[in-house]
């Protein structure tokens, strides 16, 4: 059976950061990702990131991924990477993790410590005909366009005006696809106002207090009906038919936490973090003494925060394994906690701060 000091599950922004950070202390890391390439959602992000210089603000997401890949390569003697490799189970009895690489290579690995950076899953909303080809999640649209260079369709209805809905609308426009409108159930856009202004000035209407009522079509999407809703989310009777061949759902994400459940980590349902999340201490350690969590798996947030959380978890596992001097560890933790506090500091971070308060513990009893 394979053995490793640190197993990082998930090679997105949080997992990459955790692996790099732990390896920088000398820990032997195994990084596993189910996708064909590392980078998670970062490789699809063609827009520039917000934040500060430390968080590489003003840099496009896929460029940030490239920078992380370079850091990973610098530490390659300490990091073994498996792509196209899915972690299928955690066995509580002996702490063994099972993995499937490709279609048929099955193996076990026994890590001393694990960082779960499994990311998130897209939510789907129910409406008649939502099974038709042409109804996509926003992640799939981004994968088609920005990873494979495939235009998904000609005319898009975007459902949801959070950051993902707004940004993907902008990316669709960049690809020459028409966005006929964005519907948003709330009375204001959920994403950054500037992202909304960006698509508005290119002629995309944003219909607040509207939702998709149904998709139209026999074999594939040939249109959609959108409807106005009131503050109790009940239809007002005002409806409009829109001529689209794509309905793109950007209605939120929920943390991917099956492995944390399997490991018996104490979980909490935190609406502000968009689902069940592991309870954690300040340095992202769960109730299981050998398991840390980072990124969207720990609560839905921006990639910038995910990267810092990954760094913190990386320091945490390195420390638990006895790497690093106390001074170095404290220095880095202080820096990372400061950056995280900055990112979560404003009004838009209020919800995240509330959510984290609901699943944080001061420290776990040893």
């Amino acid at each position: 059976m394979r053995e490793t000091e640190v197993l990082v599950v998930g090679g997105g922004p949080a997992g990459l950061s955790a692996a790099i950070e732990a390896a920088s202390f000398g820990a032997k890391v195994t990084l596993v990702d189910s996708d064909l390439a590392l980078g998670g959602q970062l490789i699809k992000q063609t827009h520039k990131f917000f934040g500060s210089k430390n968080e590489r603000a003003g840099t496009r997401g896929f460029k940030i991924a490239e920078e992380l890949f370079r850091e990973l390569k610098d530490k390659e003697e300490n990091i073994e990477t498996f792509t196209n490799c899915t972690v299928t189970g955690y066995y509580k009895e002996d702490g063994v993790v099972s993995c499937v690489k490709g279609e048929d290579e099955y193996f076990h690995i026994k890590p001393k410590k694990i960082v779960m950076a499994t990311g998130a899953q897209e939510r789907i909303i129910p409406f008649p005909n939502n099974h038709l080809p042409g109804v996509y999640g926003a992640g799939a649209i981004q994968t088609l366009m920005n990873v494979y260079g495939v235009v998904p369709g000609d005319r898009v209805l975007m459902v949801g005006a959070g950051n993902i809905g707004l940004i993907v609308s902008y990316q669709l426009l960049q690809a020459g696809v028409q966005v006929v409108g964005i519907v948003e159930a709330m009375d204001k856009v959920g994403g950054y106002w500037v992202h909304a202004a960006k698509v508005r000035r290119l002629g995309v209407p944003i219909y607040l207090r509207h939702t998709v009522k149904e998709a139209i079509g026999e074999r594939f999407v040939e249109g959609a009906v959108i409807q106005e809703i009131d503050e109790k989310f009940q239809p007002t009777g005002n409806e409009m038919k829109v001529d689209v061949d794509i309905i793109c759902l950007a209605v939120g994400l929920t943390p991917t936490c099956e492995l944390l459940w399997q490991a018996g980590c104490k979980m909490a349902f935190v609406p502000q973090l968009c689902g069940y999340v592991a309870q954690r201490d300040k340095n992202m350690r769960t109730s299981h003494p050998d398991i840390w969590v980072a990124g969207d798996a720990a609560g839905i947030e921006e990639a910038s925060s995910a990267m810092v959380e990954g760094r913190i978890a990386g320091v945490g596992v390195a420390k638990a394994l006895g790497y690093g001097t106390q001074e170095e560890i404290e220095k880095r933790l202080k820096e990372y906690h400061g950056r995280l506090a900055d990112l979560r500091g404003g009004e838009v971070g209020a919800k995240i701060r509330e959510g984290i308060a609901l699943c944080s513990v001061e420290c776990w009893e040893v």
């Binding site: 934040g51 003003g58 460029k63 960006k198 500091g345 404003g346 838009v348």
Partner: protein
């Protein structure tokens, strides 16, 4: 909620707000090369307009969530912030440009096709409506990161309306 607020909530600036103010008119009328107009009316964790500013015109942030504040005397209209801002919320507007009824706007452009210098393009307002024709004067790529800064000659009376271009 009134119509103005509803529009604002959908991404349309309606009047001045904190983080989205006009430069002082007197200085603006005489400042060669233009002054920055930033439209960032929401507190979000972001500060590249400040960190990229070579003259300190976008003053240091106490908190990264602060909205940009500008010392207009220091602004040289260099448009680095235009190129850097991830929200495409920075514009430079030069009221001294060209004939009396003209002005120059420097705006970020990340679409295809790329216009050519001298080309006449549609100028779009905050709703994306074509409200005027404008002549592309110059195109730069300050950060060499595919965000172009396009300098467009526009009617002076529309400087607070035109916020995008469309190549037609």
């Amino acid at each position: 909620m009134d119509e103005k607020e509803r529009l604002f909530n959908s991404g349309i600036l309606t009047g001045e707000r904190k983080g989205a103010v006009k430069p002082p008119q007197e200085l603006w009328e005489t400042k060669k090369n233009g002054l920055v107009v930033i439209e960032c009316p929401q507190r979000i964790p972001c500060n590249p307009c400040h960190t990229s500013c070579p003259t300190g015109a976008v003053v240091p942030f106490k908190d990264i969530n602060d909205q940009p504040q500008i010392e207009y005397e220091k602004c040289t209209g260099c448009a680095r912030c235009v190129a850097v801002c991830p929200g495409l919320a920075c514009f430079v507007i030069d009221l001294t440009w060209g004939e009396d009824d003209k002005a120059l706007i420097k705006l970020a452009y990340e679409m295809l096709p790329v216009p050519e210098e001298g080309q006449v393009v549609d100028c779009l307002n905050r709703f994306g409506e074509a409200v005027a024709k404008g002549k592309v004067v110059k195109i730069t790529e300050p950060m060499k990161d595919k965000t172009l800064v396009v300098h467009v000659e526009i009617p002076k009376d529309l400087v607070m309306d035109i916020r995008a271009i469309k190549v037609v």
